[in-house]
């Protein structure tokens, strides 16, 4: 199982506390994880990636094993620790004050 950590507002939207656990078929990549996430929770379509282009929304970043993978290719393999479910794939929202 892949662990996915999403920001508070998206957890509220899908009604899940803590990490989301997903089965991912095939190679574990940003794209395959997000495809599986959106398949399980269709309401998340458009909230993390643009619906049409699949590009990451500007105020979000992706982290894996403490590394910013936001600018990696979407089909690049995520670290083994993420693929084994030991560490989460994390979606982080930009900090904002005011």
């Amino acid at each position: 199982m892949i662990r996915v950590e999403v920001p508070h507002h998206l957890r509220v939207l899908v009604g899940v506390e803590g990490d989301i656990l997903l089965d991912v078929d095939g190679p574990v990549t940003q794209a395959s994880v997000l495809d599986a996430l959106e398949a399980r929770f269709p309401v998340l379509r458009g909230t993390i990636r643009d619906r049409a282009t699949k590009r990451r929304r500007p105020y979000l970043r992706f982290f894996a094993c403490d590394r910013d993978v936001s600018f990696d290719r979407p089909d690049a393999p995520l670290p083994d620790a993420v693929a084994r479910g030991e560490r989460p794939f994390t979606v982080i929202g930009a900090m904002s004050g005011g």
Partner: protein, 371 residues
């Protein structure tokens, strides 16, 4: 009448305020969608339990929520707002081409006859329609294509389609308004559109009397006289007596003719309300005194209504979708401020009281009159 439900969209969520027809004691529920911007909430005139809400943030984009129990619970519906055809350009602030990009839904207008039909006005400006209760959305592309969308440019608030008026006497006729493009009308249910801006004058644009390019802030009519339109423009309060073919100014003796919302009394088609704001540079009421102005003559002659409103040190704004009226026998007028107050007048504006004082900045106020 059994009462009213006031739907309030704010910077940090949506709220429902309910009261009986005396409108003295209120129940407050919310925030719905806590922490999200709720640009607009509006109920179906056919089925008042059906409420649509626009929920968005810059982080996570746009969601549409629908309630089928009068705003007690909401369910997300469709959020795929894909422009029809090839992406095009409009003008950017500096006159250069800029690609059309969906940002958010500013206004939701449920059909007058079918609770599953709802229109959405969006930024970058376009009009969408759903025939399945918000599950799916299709652009009505004639608006952008027929009226020179490539020449539209955004106002400071964005290139937003913020006003949608459905003519109750003619199901084929509707109006929309866009900042800063102007007002547009269709007479064939959204197939073909034309600008209806003759008579508008805007000193802030290169051609002051151009066919498009005017920053229209809001338009309103009375359902019994849908050819008589009232407009609050960036500057100027305007009126058209012929469905927008020609406009004339009715600012008259207002202390400022800059403002955002405009509303028409529910039982008196010639009675109009505006909330003057000091200027385009200074977005708060003149002299720090919050006053609604009412004209009982269809404009030109205006009277201040201030009983119960703060008359010193008040520096809030009232945004374009943040004023509404109910249909109670004793007509109610409502508005919300960027300071988080929602005010009601249960007597057509003679007296005012705050329903709530401390909501997040209010973006929109809509009223459902319940029976």
């Amino acid at each position: 009448m059994t009462g009213v439900r006031v739907l309030v969209g704010t910077r940090k969520g949506g709220f429902c305020l309910t009261s009986d027809e005396r409108r003295q004691k209120w129940e407050i529920s919310g925030p719905h969608f806590a922490g999200w911007e709720v640009y607009h909430m509006k109920g179906s005139p056919v089925d008042p339990d059906r409420v649509y809400a626009s929920q968005s943030t810059s982080w996570f984009g746009q969601l549409i929520q629908r309630s089928d129990d009068g705003g007690r619970t909401f369910t997300p519906v469709g959020n795929d707002f894909a422009y029809a055809g090839r992406p095009e350009d409009h003008q950017w602030y500096d006159g250069t081409p800029h690609p059309w990009e969906f940002k958010r839904v500013w206004h939701l207008e449920p059909s007058l006859i079918d609770p599953d039909v709802v229109f959405a006005g969006v930024e970058d400006a376009a009009l969408f329609r759903s025939d399945d209760g918000g599950q799916s959305w299709q652009e009505m592309p004639g608006l952008r294509h027929d009226t020179g969308g490539r020449d539209w440019s955004p106002g400071a608030g964005g290139l937003c389609l913020h006003t949608i008026l459905l003519d109750p006497s003619n199901p084929d006729r509707m109006y929309v308004a866009i900042s800063s493009a102007g007002a547009f009308r269709t007479d064939d249910a959204g197939g073909i559109w034309k600008p209806v801006n003759h008579g508008l004058r805007s000193a802030q644009i290169p051609e002051g009397e151009a066919e498009v390019g005017h920053c229209v802030h809001s338009i309103a009519f009375h359902p019994s006289r849908p050819d008589v339109l009232y407009m609050q423009k960036h500057w100027d309060v305007m009126r058209s007596d012929d469905a927008g073919e020609m406009w004339h100014e009715v600012s008259g003796d207002l202390p400022s003719d800059f403002g955002f919302p405009i509303a028409v009394h529910p039982h008196e088609p010639g009675t109009v309300y505006v909330i003057p704001i000091t200027s385009d540079s200074v977005h708060y009421p003149p002299e720090g005194r919050l006053r609604v102005y009412r004209s009982r003559t269809g404009g030109n002659e205006w009277e201040p209504l201030s009983n119960g409103l703060p008359q010193e040190n008040c520096y809030v704004n009232v945004l374009r979708d943040a004023m509404s009226v109910d249909r109670c026998d004793a007509a109610g007028v409502y508005f919300g401020t960027t300071g988080g107050q929602v005010y009601v007048s249960p007597d057509s504006g003679e007296t005012w009281q705050a329903i709530v004082h401390d909501l997040p900045a209010v973006l929109s106020v809509e009223v459902q009159t319940l029976s």
